[in-house]
Symmetry: C2
Subunit: 722 residues, 2 copies
């Protein structure tokens, strides 16, 4: 069995950025990168906030990093002792991913002896505004120790600085009150320290930091414990965030570290009761999978009603903290099956941003709702027309993600439909969902074109999931998803409950039915291969390796008008296969297999959204062994080194929630074979060889089931919610 | 008045390529670059052939350069005396552009004294297979002269070599018989020399050259004359081209140089009688304009029925020797008005290549006739999908000239319509023209799309005349030209004479009428500006200079997906203005002026097709002074240095027939104000200030008119054809 702990011993400064993601802790309100407390912005420290954005100058709008309440470092015998500058004698970092507890322990050999600093910290899953850190210091000599600590408001930003005003106060309760540039949001942090040994407490001065220190001389090998509590509120939370933060910091300090930790662990335990997946026979898979789920838990917006999940979670400002189709297509299933109330929030975010989607559609001359490719608050599309920088000319390249990746709206409708059919909860329809669905269908209807001489409806000049081929016609996935949108919209319009909502109901039903009938759906060719888009089969047929060998600069973009992949059959990620994963009923197994074999070897898997779709379809085709490495790739996206960190010259590092969600889908829907054909829960397991037993819970139509699989037989038991 | 001679004194090797174009002689069958006879392929010598193409390996198919029958050089006192290696004491080159006679005269100072070589040459306008060169040698010392001469088959090629077999024979009559790689065409040249002074004649050996020599000792300052005659035939001309060449060379030598020259000059004089334009008060304009017409005469395919004019004439292999829309839109008017029988040939070429155009359409999923962007024999489209090389990566760039520049077919219909209405000769309709027109209309009909939710017909994803903006929707020019195609096709279909030709006549009339009514035509916005395409007005509004200043490499391509101009309002060439030049009746004068002012300052004039259209529309707007420098630019495209010789890394140098034709249009249709409104010849002059008088002839509906303009009054007299 696994111990739910990731331990990295020894120190390597090359890993700082990667470990920042790997050792992240979070509670949906904030994500704190797995950096050491003595680090500053140079080491990409971030207390990344959900749903609060800022834009400065010509830079991209991005989420705000809050002042860091975990900040602190040692001075021994007047010498600053910090990583990475002061090399350590011993060092380890440990992430307890069952409970989101980050521990670091470092011993430095100094002139007079060894000193050890161990600190343990978490951001509370019980009260999302709060973080606590317990620091233990011990030395094998009489060290003259000064521990400096507080709140660091000199935060890391990609397109910052975002704080126009930073007020720091280190008298008594330490506070930072910062004001964002664009919208004047207050971001306030208060910190309370508790020290129960004799020491000198002093106010300190550092620019844009609220800092104090405790000074003491150590007894030999005695542990000196410093407990700190910070609270973080913004003006989106309440009217006076500074006061709220101060009050919370004081209250939590009174409650004490152990009590907070207990509550925090209970909150996590509650989450795991419904989501933990036990795999017997393959600890590595069990670890990677549950570690993936840990990340999903860290970023679930349980505290809010109008938030979704960003493509890089709460690991920083990459991808602009924006919500992509990742949420609907890759992440949602996990929450639907383990915590439908979170799934509903994710969907509500889209319903609440319908106006933004309608505005975007209008701006491009469409009707209905064209959802943002990179959605921020109110559905604002943070995506720019120039998303990639040419490595050769250093010029921005015109990209078309924003204006031509029209499949985004269909993903939202697909997700709503799935939510309703798997939870049985159609309340979202009345809460704006029905309108959202119809507006999405109106969008596709307005985008449909036909040749004057032909009656087939088409979607031209689009980008499908595979972004390396831009401005293509009749992307199979997009057209199929649009067709599905028409179907669901018709169902909504025909539902008597929403009769009153649509004045032009009859007309819309007529239009959408016509569109549903006539929209062109790519069909398998004589070899059984479904063309990804019109003309795909005429492209140069080369291997992924051959395409890679044509790179002149390793950072150059494979796509765009002239990329190494653009005019070849090599694709970035699952595209036709994503279609088949969503609609396995469309073709028979032979066609599925044929397409899997055809496309898999032509796929770079250059997106973390790729492997899981291939793994899912492989499972459907009874190709468990082919699926297994792809599952592992998905499940270890944040665990293994070597993730893709660059697109052109743009840094895209961070955690990969979609990959984590994809790993869940493969484990539960693929290997365990959970499906809902004919409106009921079926479990048709196809476990990998090494998985002797597998057990987990899922929620279906408001009933909690325990699924136990052994010898590829499934035992499904209805259980009382625990 | 002008002397019809261009004389360049002094020698500069930097000008070799440019002068090759500037001093070209030609007779429609072949063009001989204005290079010296001692030059070889290093100096871009070419005897460029009309209508015979070859492809080797992966290179572009291009026209064949024939073995050079003008080859010859001096050896004096055993020393090779040649330009550019042996620097000259005195040197001039003269082109007589009234008669296409090229003269070079060079004096070298050698150890023992000065020797002068003068040679005069022409390719006969009377017998297009023949060239003659008369070489005069004199020295002011007793020079030991050897003159080596013959046929150089080691020709300059861009994508060659094109001859698989080269048989040379220097015994008696010199011959070269070469066989092309792809289609095994024979290209045969024979040469006969006549020397009427005592000398030693010897066979010589040079690889891939048929060479001989005459040796003699010079008397002081006596002229030694060597006359040579070559004849050139290919297997496209007759069954046994070698025999034909041999026979012709011998026959011409018997006729003698002076007789041949006389016949040649008479043939030219015949051409000038109907085409010469006399301008009093501005010799520079008169020279540039008639020099332009000279170039058009040099490349008119009078000898053939199935040839048209290549975009770089017969100046070499650039632009693949292919026929572009240049012929129909820029060159045709000159021939219609001066030599309608040539105009008819140009049109017949398109009719004869209808099958190729139908095949191309089919290949792209269209109906009807989609003419080649770069048309070679049988309408084969020589245009590649990768026409530009990226200067940064050296990779070929995917361009869309071939597949998306769909306005080409409309130009052919426009030209046919113009030919018929200006000549009154509708015989072309019966000779395949009617079918051609209808097939072009069918092509556009099949390309029309509409939004399902809208009834307006559109042409999307095209390239208009301005190639810097690719893959755009509803290019104003293209849509307008397509609409015109529908109109003309309807007229043809409604013409009772062709009733039998079209089985689906009624149906086609219905479709084309519907298309004519519904095709979207861009309209002036509130400022009176007609958008070049959908979304043009939203592009970055910067100056041409600003765009130029963004270049990193002076040779980089301004267009394509990421070019410096691509996402700005800066355009390569007249686009909306070309529309207005073709359809001045579409908008009132104010709109014309407004668009001229708006677009002219945003135009790079990076194509030789640009200035003349702006000049034409300026004349229509009574802006003669604005038109004048643009006329000069067009008329001097081959006369002035500094032409655009590069597109990315591709050499595009050569002569500019479209510019020459454009200069004619501006002079005759713009300044002289010749038009055919209401079906009759009108002359409404707006001469530039400096043009005191202007006179010329034009043919309209088979009647020859003399037009004399002075004081901006026109006198039009019907004259007997002379």
């Amino acid at each position: 069995m696994i111990d739910w702990k990731l331990k990295d011993i020894s120190f390597n400064s090359d890993n700082i950025a990667w470990h920042g993601n790997k050792h992240l802790v979070g509670n949906g309100y904030m994500g704190v990168r797995g950096t050491l407390e003595e680090y500053t912005k140079e080491q990409l420290v971030a207390v990344n906030l959900a749903g609060i954005y800022d834009k400065v100058g010509d830079g991209w709008r991005e989420p705000v990093n809050a002042p860091n309440g975990f900040y602190g470092y040692l001075i021994v015998d007047d010498e600053v002792v910090k990583l990475p500058e002061s090399s350590a004698e011993e060092h380890y970092v440990e992430l307890d991913y069952r409970y989101g507890i980050f521990t670091r322990c470092t011993t430095w050999r100094l002139m007079r002896g060894n000193i050890t600093l161990k600190s343990t910290r978490f951001v509370s899953m019980d009260d999302v505004h709060v973080g606590a850190i317990k620091t233990e210091i011990s030395a094998d000599f009489h060290a003259d120790v000064k521990y400096v600590f507080g709140i660091d408001a000199d935060v890391w930003d990609i397109n910052g600085p975002h704080f126009d005003i930073i007020k720091v106060n280190s008298n008594g309760l330490m506070t930072v009150d910062a004001v964002t540039h664009e919208k004047n949001h207050n971001v306030s942090v208060a910190q309370k320290v508790t020290v129960e040994f004799p020491c000198e407490v002093k106010r300190e001065e550092e620019i844009n930091k609220a800092v104090a220190s405790v000074s003491f001389i150590t007894d030999l090998n005695k542990k000196y414990v410093i407990e700190r509590y910070f609270a973080l509120y913004t003006s989106l939370d309440c009217e006076n965030p500074l006061e709220a933060a101060k009050e919370a910091a004081v209250t939590k300090a009174i409650e004490g570290y152990d009590t907070l930790l207990e509550k925090h662990k209970n909150a996590w335990e509650n989450l795991w009761r419904r989501s933990e997946i036990i795999i017997e026979g393959d600890d590595k898979s069990m670890e990677a999978l549950n570690y993936s789920l840990y990340h999903l838990h860290c970023i679930a917006p349980r505290h809010a009603d109008n938030l979704s999940i960003a493509a890089r979670g709460l690991s920083g400002q990459t991808y602009k903290g924006a919500v992509f189709w990742d949420t609907e297509m890759f992440i949602l299933d996990f929450f639907i099956m383990t915590e439908p109330e979170v799934a509903k929030k994710l969907i509500k975010y889209r319903i609440d941003t319908l106006e933004g989607a309608k505005e975007k559609a209008k701006g491009y001359g469409y009707d209905g709702a064209f959802y943002a490719w990179e959605s921020q608050e109110n559905g604002f599309d943070a995506c720019s027309d120039y998303n990639v920088t040419d490595v050769f000319t250093k010029r921005p390249m015109r990209t078309y993600f924003k204006d031509k990746q029209i499949h985004i709206s269909s993903a939202i409708v697909y997700a709503m439909d799935k939510y309703i059919s798997l939870t049985g909860d159609d309340s979202i329809l009345k809460e704006g969902g029905a309108e959202t669905i119809v507006e999405c269908a109106k969008f596709y209807y307005s985008a449909l074109i036909k040749k004057v001489c032909d009656d087939r409806y088409e979607l031209r000049d689009v980008i499908g999931p595979d972004e390396y081929h831009e401005r293509i016609d009749n992307n199979g996935y997009t057209n199929r998803m649009a067709k599905n949108t028409f179907r669901i919209a018709i169902e909504v319009l025909e539902n008597e409950e929403y009769l009153g909502a649509f004045a032009d109901r009859e007309e819309l039903i007529g239009k959408f039915s016509d569109a549903f009938d006539k929209i062109f759906i790519q069909q398998p060719d004589s070899e059984g291969v479904i063309p990804q888009f019109d003309g795909y089969k005429e492209l140069e047929d080369v291997t992924v390796d051959e395409v890679r060998s044509r790179l002149i600069d390793p950072k150059e973009y494979w796509g765009g008008a002239y990329g190494v992949a653009s005019h070849t059959k090599v694709i970035k990620q699952a595209d036709v296969i994503t279609w088949l994963a969503m609609y396995p009923q469309d073709f028979d197994l032979e066609v599925m297999k044929q397409n899997w074999n055809y496309y898999e070897k032509r796929t770079e898997h250059g997106s973390s959204l790729s492997a899981c779709m291939y793994a899912l379809v492989a499972c459907m085709c009874n190709m468990t062994e082919e699926a297994f490495p792809l599952f592992t790739k998905s499940a270890t996206a944040d665990l293994a080194p070597g993730g893709k960190e660059w697109a052109g010259l743009v840094y895209i590092g961070g955690t990969h929630p979609a990959s984590a969600g994809g790993a869940y889908m493969v484990a539960v829907e693929g290997f365990a074979g959970v499906n809902f054909k004919n409106g009921k829960l079926n479990v048709e397991p196809k476990l990998p060889e090494s998985w002797k037993k597998m057990s987990f819970h899922i929620t279906y139509k408001n009933v909690l089931y325990r699924v136990e699989i052994s010898d590829n037989e499934a035992l499904v038991t209805e259980v009382d919610d625990m």
